[in-house]
Amino acid sequence: MESIGVLMMCPMSSYLENELQKRFNLLRFWTCPEKSVFLETHRNSIRAVVGNASAGADAQLISDLPKLEIVSSFSVGLDKIDLGKCKEKGIRVTNTPDVLTEDVADLAIGLILALLRRLCECDRYVRSGKWKTGDFQLTTKFSGKSVGIIGLGRIGTAIAKRAEAFSCPINYYSRTEKRDVGYKYYPTVVELAQNSDILVVACPLTDETRHIVNRQVMDALGAKGVLINIGRGPHVDEQELVKALTQGRLGGAALDVFEQEPHVPEELFGLDNVVLLPHVGSGTVETRNAMADLVVGNLEAHFSGKSLLTPVV
């Protein structure tokens, strides 16, 4: 397999790089200065692309690589991969489902607690020495607050289970009502927001879910409500979010994802009622290694003619 060209789109895990290098002819796309020259040189040797949530395989790349057989993504979401084009050309696509479900759900609960109990602000307060001269303000209780989840898939369900242990009533919105879950279903996101203290975005990004959290939803959530986004940046109308937060129409927001990563609206930097993370939903050593193993496992299975571990297309 050492002759097989594997194009890695951006740095994502040094462990993954090592594992790929051991097995394949690893080409690091981010290290070459002239992308078009690079693609021209390697167009006949590249048979696999490894992408992630920020860099995948768009239509242009797919048409530039005539020998491409498989796109193995180091992510759950596949919004950076042109799935239609892949299907059309018979290119296989894999992702890394399940392994990061727990991490994302853990982070969602961590963000809720960080936001309501103002843990980041507490930490800044102590580090700045202000505690010596005054009392910290009261924070907001989490236990018992109603949690509304957009998208009750694997991650949404894992969040619901965790929030249940905090005695939180769970509401959800999804395309279809799910029987046997025991949570309250709302047929629109606005109704879900109206009836929840905490709104968590946990659905995949599609054309239908782009800006699913718009101004109307933010206003329905209200000045005491908080928004948690561990999905994708474009789920939320970011400009409206900044306005709602700065005008006090929304209680707070904890965001792991943004519309133009790694760019974050600077208006948010001065706010105490936001928590801002650099897209680390699956950012743990354990999970990144498990994801890397899946990426490598899918490529090995494909090139040795076995069935894929986690196929999407």
């Binding site: 102590v126 209780k141 050593v285 354990e286 999970t287």
Partner: protein, 520 residues
Amino acid sequence: MDFASSSLFNVNFAYEDELDFSCLISPSTFISFQEPNPSNPIIHCAGTENDGRQRIRETTMTDEITKENVEPKNKRAKHREIERQRRQEVTSLFQNLRNILPFHYIKGKRSSSDHVQEAVNYIKDLQKKIKEVSEKRDRIKRSITHPSSTGECPIRSSASSYCSCVGDTHIDVKRVLIKRVKRLLLNNSRLRLEEVSMAESSAPPLILVHRPPSLDYLDERLSRHFQILNTHASSPDPLPVFLSRHASSIRAFVNIGRLPIDAELLSHLPSLQLLVCTSVGTDHVDLAECKRLGIAVTNAGDAFSEDVADCAVGLLINVLRRIPAADRFVRSGNWAKSRDFQLGTKVSGKRVGIVGLGSIGSLIAKRLEPFRCIISYNSRSHKPSIPYRYYPDILSLAANNDVLVLCCALTDQTRQIVNREVMESLGKGGVIINVGRGGLIDEKEMVKCLVEGVIGGAGLDVFGNEPEVPEELFGLDNVVLSPHAAVATPGSLDNVTEVALANLKAFFSNQPLISPVRLD
């Protein structure tokens, strides 16, 4: 020692003309003190140079000899016995006098006769003071209410406990006015507040409240049911002075915050029977002294448990997933510069050892179960009904876990329970979460262990010497620091207000307390 601080002379104005000091002397010896009068034999003997006891004895003997002339001789022995008892009682009376007289009355006085003389002087002084004070009180009362005020106004409402009527005009004297009267009286006469309170009919019980200026959340609820003597609002005096001046008959004391309650402070509250603490931990209270004095102590019970458990889990996730460090990373613009952020550690599936599986510890365990965390614990005793693994010592608990959560009470047994050895056995990936008390950890060693990488991180809501925090921690990304805020949500404050109120109500109606602290 001034008049107001003597708790023994608890004088009710209604009886100010007949001072009854019977409580001061042993029950068998009832002596009614009277105005000095040359014809009074006691005063006469007290005025002589000789030993008062001797003179009293002689006076009594004279009476008996007179009787003896008409009584049979075999009664002499009986009389001698009676006389012996009387002498004993008189001795004990003088002893009592010495104890109760303020020092400047007995200073330099040796003989019992001097003591009796000084006692008389003291009583005269007291009566004079009482007369002055009551005149002053009446003057002030007259200046704000009509003298005909007897509370018989038909439209007097329950909301206004005082009413003054001028002719047919109803004047509603609000409680605010009464408060002003009280303050005037207090300022002018150094009277104890509870004495003034007696003037109010059917007044709610008086309780003492001490709190930091900012913690006013209980005031409103408490004042609906009790009269509050607030140490913070009422007086610029140092606390011991304030207490001995105004709080000597206080039976219930609500201590909001962390004011240390030691033997010295308790000595200023001789009537205290109930100490209501608004914290879960009572390490700031000398429980042994409370037990000795028969003072019941209550704490916050379960009022804070959910919030503290939430905070513990929040700190745990925030340390492992490096959330505050990540937030700093984004806000500083480092992400936009495409710098890498160091990966965090997975929470789900971690082994979590809980030190102290009480109400808070159990709620932490319950919250961590859906995270697939493997829970084990160490506490004073093994709880067989609980499915979690029990480790009899903290060292083996630390050795078998990734995270150690401290949520036990700080006692002599748990002080610095987490020492260097425990941290070494927790290991370099290990994390400590402390929502108990700072004193549970050897803080100096913990700082070293964090800096040297002996342990992996820490989430700390409490510190050894709050609000001081070791500055070495400020530069570390693997710690999350919180200003003892685990309980500080409006929900918790509502809860603790309910618990404090319920304990006070139970106390004043002789019902069992809601959240008593074990005094052993």
